[in-house]
């Protein structure tokens, strides 16, 4: 048989040996991309109202407690770092601490710390809201109130949802027999979300408290 004209098997010369991307991680990033545009809509509301009633902005922004908001921002930013340390622990597949030192902490301890910092941030916002309501700025008081509470409120809802997912992740770490890659993937995508919410807050802080 000199010439073979057909072959029942087509062989690839080089079998592709590639690491398939993690669909959960890529899907989360695409969803966060859509969240970027959701907050773009909120920023558009804010700037539209700001351009139509600039006199409101010149009076109402005086009620903002900028030093307090700065401290609150620092708390949220630091929670991003503790969250990332939790992810490093999850990538080591280490759910629980092996010692009292932070270098020996597992994902659970770091995520608890992140939860506390995030909860402090939301509590700080509640306190700030109550002060603003005492000053007469409510959701329906003026265009400024609407813009302020819509933007920061939707962000606070995101932070609250993030806190809830941290609890779910901690519960999983306690519930699972062997902390594996599935749990680590969940921890990583929760951290993506948390970093995203953090960056959005930095944008909101710059627009609402610095730029006014």
């Amino acid at each position: 048989m000199d010439v073979v004209t057909s072959n029942s098997m087509t062989q690839t010369p080089t079998a592709p040996l590639v690491q398939r991307p993690n669909v959960v991680a890529v899907g989360t990033i695409v969803w966060l991309g859509s969240e970027v545009m959701f907050f773009a809509g909120l920023f558009a509301i804010y700037f539209t109202l700001r351009s139509t009633s600039p006199e409101l902005w010149s009076t109402e922004t005086g009620h903002l407690n900028v030093p307090f908001a700065t401290v609150n921002t620092l708390i949220l930013v630091s929670s991003s770092f503790t969250c990332q340390f939790g992810v490093f622990a999850a990538e080591r597949l280490q759910a629980r601490a092996t010692g009292w030192k932070p270098t020996q902490w597992g994902m659970v301890e770091w995520f608890f710390l992140t939860y506390v910092l995030g909860a402090l941030f939301v509590s700080g916002q509640v306190w700030e809201y109550s002060n603003l309501v005492q000053d007469g700025i409510t959701l329906s008081s003026s265009a400024y109130g609407s813009a302020f509470y819509l933007t920061t409120g939707f962000h606070a809802l995101h932070v609250t949802a993030g806190l809830f997912t941290f609890l779910l992740m901690i519960g999983r770490a306690f519930g699972v027999k062997n902390f594996g890659h599935r749990e680590a993937t969940s921890a990583i995508v929760v951290s993506y979300y948390w970093h995203f919410v953090d960056v959005v807050w930095i944008g909101l802080f710059l627009v609402i408290y610095v730029l006014k």
Partner: protein
């Protein structure tokens, strides 16, 4: 995936260019920066750059091309383990139904929202822990 990455970088570049034109045009026409569109278009650029950057990182980490990105691969080359998908889970439809109740509450009467929120919490917890308890616990 190379094509996807390039498309998103091109989109990001286009939005940056469009944003520059927008700022210039509003400065010429009105003498001030119009923030709504400027920020909106800029966030469009961020959307493109964000996805392009992340897909680039993923593409770099996978160490080669996927079969679906190669012109000379066969269908069965791209038959890997895609991930874990529950074949019989009822939780997604529970979550969908609870969200429907929640949004119906927004339209009809706020008191329904409270029922919706509690059902949403039950659905999310049930879905998250579906494979962490009972017969199929990990």
């Amino acid at each position: 995936m190379r094509a996807n990455i390039n498309v998103f970088w091109i989109l990001a570049g286009f939005f940056i260019l469009a944003d520059a034109v927008y700022v210039f045009w509003s400065l010429v026409s009105y003498g001030k920066v119009e923030w709504v569109g400027t920020l909106g278009i800029a966030l469009g650029a961020i959307l493109g750059a964000f996805l392009a950057f992340y897909l680039g990182r993923v593409h770099g980490a996978q160490g080669g091309e996927l079969p679906e990105d190669m012109t000379d691969s066969n269908i069965d080359d791209g038959d890997p383990e895609m991930g874990f998908y529950s074949p019989w889970s009822w939780w997604p439809i529970v979550l969908g139904g609870s969200l429907a109740i929640f949004f119906a509450g927004l339209a009809v009467g706020t008191w329904i929202c409270f029922i919706g929120v509690s059902l949403i919490l039950i659905a999310i917890i049930g879905w998250t822990y579906e494979y962490y308890r009972g017969f199929f616990a990990r």
